[in-house]
Symmetry: C2
């Protein structure tokens, strides 16, 4: 495994792999503080690619002024161990100065898809994501890029950027990885106190409950689903809801309030963002709604 | 020479050339209705590259609602003759549907550089240019891309996009090509009546006059240069000035009104946009200001 810190070194390492015929190239962009979710992306990349590149970069552009850029957890030594163990060939760890040698005047924005969910709560966040991912794609020129579905809106936005800009890469979305008790893995989980950690289980539990209620026919519309989710989440006293939304996926369009979820003819995302203390957690479930059995 | 009309055909033609070792790849993006200016770009591309790709696409995204998108001159047969004669290997002529199969939600914008000159007169124009050129770069993945300095602001904006987004291409700016009488070549010259065509010579003439006045020390500041240019251009009764600006290049920053041009420590652009009837022409001169002789 080769660790590179400049764009020039990265390009040189990639040229070497390509000239040796080690293609296709798979790419896993991360902000580091790696966990089993990232490991699953590396393994998937290893299955599909002969060169696996991982980047570790906490991108200041995608953090708002009152967000956790400065305190975002970092542990390079542990990250490199995990990357090596999970088969990364090249790890790219640029400094902020290497990524932004001058303030960027160029911004990439995807409209419409970024107005809801985390786009509404975190203004400018997705412009920061699309701009940095575009830069990384231009540096790595991967055949495949791997992203976790925990950031489902990010997947939708990046897919749209790739298709709108004819970028020659396939975005591969990988399933959410959870702890045994259901908590979705996130580098930010480290912020949680024991009590918050325990109450945060309400996210996965409420997603499970609403899917079960749908399967049983007790919940049929977006409004009913939302009501149930809010009531479930509110059972955790520390939970402060940022949003609870049920939208089409990947177009992220609002569903008719009263019409059955099956009427949308699309995949559906149930997306949650909830604060516990100062920590904002997200979770979601993407699925194809099935016709529920008639209520007896 | 191969003519391709879809992105898939283009990528296939490029793969074939690359696999045959015909690299580097040079790219000349155009809106067609080719003239000797475009021919000079193709020749330059041929000197530096072993595969020369030209695109011909009148990009609706970069035209304002009251601009000449519909009437922009087109002549594919003549364009193909010129491309063949000047050594293009691949000519890409996509339809609007091929370039924009769905309305693009993704936009690329370069701030600051696009607020002045044509950016001020044509709101949204440069977002359209950067977005389509980015798409074309992703399709062609050229080593070099060739642009005429007649659109000097476009060169400055695209260079900044390439550097901000780490696009792996070198932008090569080529000198303005002029008719024998000084008129800068432009596909839009075809719109001019005989009388307008004759009066349009005031653009190159005034640029020449101001440079001469600088060399002689009669003009030393941006304000003096601007006053002389406006007076020269106003001698043509049909000329309606859109802008006359003297800025640093390529940063396009305003110069101190009273300070000598040599004080900027930068290249300077004198940029003109003038309407003759319904036709808007641009011309410019980029140079390093020299210390003028002391006035006697």
């Amino acid at each position: 495994m080769r660790v590179v810190r400049t764009v020039a070194q990265l390009r040189e390492a990639l040229d070497y792999m390509r000239q040796g015929g080690h293609t296709p190239v798979g790419f896993v962009p991360t902000m580091g503080y790696l966990h089993e979710g990232h490991a699953s992306l590396l393994r998937k990349a290893g299955e599909k690619s002969n060169t696996v590149v991982m980047s570790i970069f906490v991108n200041p552009l995608q953090f708002g002024p009152n967000e956790d850029y400065a305190s975002y957890p970092r542990d390079e030594a542990r990250d490199l161990e995990l990357a090596e163990r999970e088969g990364a060939d090249i790890v790219f760890i640029p400094s902020v100065e290497e990524m932004y040698p001058q303030p960027t005047l160029t911004k990439i924005s995807v409209s419409s898809l970024t107005t809801r969910l985390c786009g509404a709560s975190r203004p400018g966040h997705f412009d920061g994501v699309t701009t940095v991912v575009n830069k990384l794609f231009n540096m790595v020129q991967p055949d495949y890029a791997f992203f976790g579905l925990k950031d489902a809106q990010q997947v939708a936005v990046l897919r749209r950027m790739v298709s709108d800009l004819n970028i020659n890469v396939e975005i591969i979305a990988c399933p959410i990885v959870r702890e045994n008790d259901g908590l979705a893995l996130s580098s930010r989980n480290v912020y949680l106190s024991a009590e918050e950690r325990s109450q945060a289980l309400v996210l996965s539990r409420s997603l499970k409950a609403v899917r079960q209620a749908m399967d049983e026919g007790a919940v049929r519309t977006a409004d009913e689903a939302r009501t149930l989710l809010i009531s479930e989440i509110s059972s955790a006293p520390l939970a402060v809801i940022d949003y609870v939304e049920i939208l089409t996926f990947p177009d992220l369009e609002v569903l008719e309030p009263g019409s059955p979820l099956t009427a949308s003819g699309s995949e559906i995302i149930i997306a949650l963002a909830v604060k516990f203390g100062r920590t904002r957690l997200i979770d979601n479930n993407v699925f194809i709604p099935k016709e529920a059995p008639a209520l007896v």
